[in-house]
Symmetry: C2
């Protein structure tokens, strides 16, 4: 499995993904699940992926091919689409098409291939948008009422997000929130693993403001994880029933 979480806040977009991929318990590998596309100042797009690696890799590879093709139209290249909604439609269509093709190959073996994605970004002159793209290619969008979207193993890390994330949350607090949400997931589920990829896109920058790969031995993340555990245990001791 996978855990990816994206936040759309007044101040910008924050996205975090893990990197663990497994085909069975004895076949574990590290694959990047965050993909950035940027024409700085004009548009920025970040895509996080969960699900069958063959589906997500092929989908991303085909999106890249369309970007590089000089003939690709604005309904084919995510770097030419006139709006973020258009980008979501291209990504959704490509995901659904790729999934159908791979599912067709699986049919004889009674297997299914599936994948979902979180897509965030902004085009100059347009609004910042964050979408969750379903395996069927349709999508939903983050709003002020629901400023975060999750894919993969989303349940362990949801309580902390429910409690602290609001549209007014600052970008530093948002990074803290997604890292703590990931920390709870890492502790409780083996199929989610380090390193992590963190992406920050400030509102109206139309470029990637910061990326950070957090390795398994990252001292800052380890310190935060320990401090959070200690804080939870201290709070637990102080609470009265």
């Amino acid at each position: 499995m996978t855990y990816c979480v994206g936040l759309k806040l007044d101040a910008g977009i924050v996205m975090l993904s893990d990197t663990r991929t497994n085909a069975g318990m004895d076949n574990i590998a590290i694959y990047k699940k965050t993909f950035l596309f940027e024409n700085p100042g004009e548009r920025v797009i970040s895509i996080m992926t969960a699900g069958s690696l063959s589906v997500t890799q092929t989908t991303i590879a085909r999106l890249r091919e369309a970007i590089e093709s000089p003939e690709a139209t604005e309904t084919q290249s995510i770097m030419r689409a006139p709006t973020m909604l258009g980008v979501a439609e291209i990504v959704g269509d490509m995901l659904a098409r790729t999934r159908l093709e791979i599912t067709e190959k699986h049919k004889a073996f009674d297997q299914q291939a599936s994948a979902s994605m979180i897509l965030g970004g902004q085009r100059a002159g347009g609004e910042m948008r964050l979408f969750l793209i379903y395996p069927e290619g349709n999508f939903i969008e983050a709003t002020n009422d629901t400023p975060f979207l999750q894919i993969g193993e989303h349940k362990y890390g949801k309580p902390i997000l429910d409690r602290v994330v609001r549209p007014t949350t600052s970008l530093p607090d948002a990074q803290k929130a997604v890292l703590l949400s990931m920390d709870s997931t890492l502790r409780s589920n083996l199929s989610v693993g380090m390193p992590l990829d963190l992406t920050v896109i400030e509102r109206d920058a139309c470029r990637v403001s910061a990326v950070r790969r957090i390795e398994a031995n990252d001292p800052g993340f380890a310190a935060m994880s320990i401090a959070w555990s200690d804080a939870l245990r201290d709070s637990f001791i102080r609470i009265e029933i």
Copy 2:
């Protein structure tokens, strides 16, 4: 869905269940999911249930019938079984048999019925035991390494248990832990709902030490829930990344 959690500690057993049952979003009802069987001083058995209500109700009803039947043998009545392992086998067999019967009725409609249970208790002269009984009737047992078992919507409430529950946890702390675990689940998942049923069985008492129904408007639970949210938010603010 449902959320039930059981802890087996040095000091005793603590079990907590919600009461929400739903058949679709517009058919929500309250059903008790904790069932107590007691011959005080000789044996105490507590069963919590998750899954298809027709399966769990029929299973419990049949277990009761066997208890009341004067002819029931020690492989049929959970109140006559010579060990807690024997009790687990009776419950597992009855669950699997009931499930198979109901699944048979569902077959024509291509539907499945499933359920799982947590069984805890002690017989005079025997050890305190806590089992998770799978829909197929087989079971696993809580140990010192893994002192808690969960059924139903278990993911939201697992991080707090992973962090604070140890075999040496006291009974008051254990009650706090399961209530906070339930609180996280209630906040993040609509299919789990108040009121709650809390059961405490002290080691070697061989009787129910305490039961408590926590209603939706319980002031103690509400205060704990608010204090925990506040503590989490305070901890969140203090943590540095």
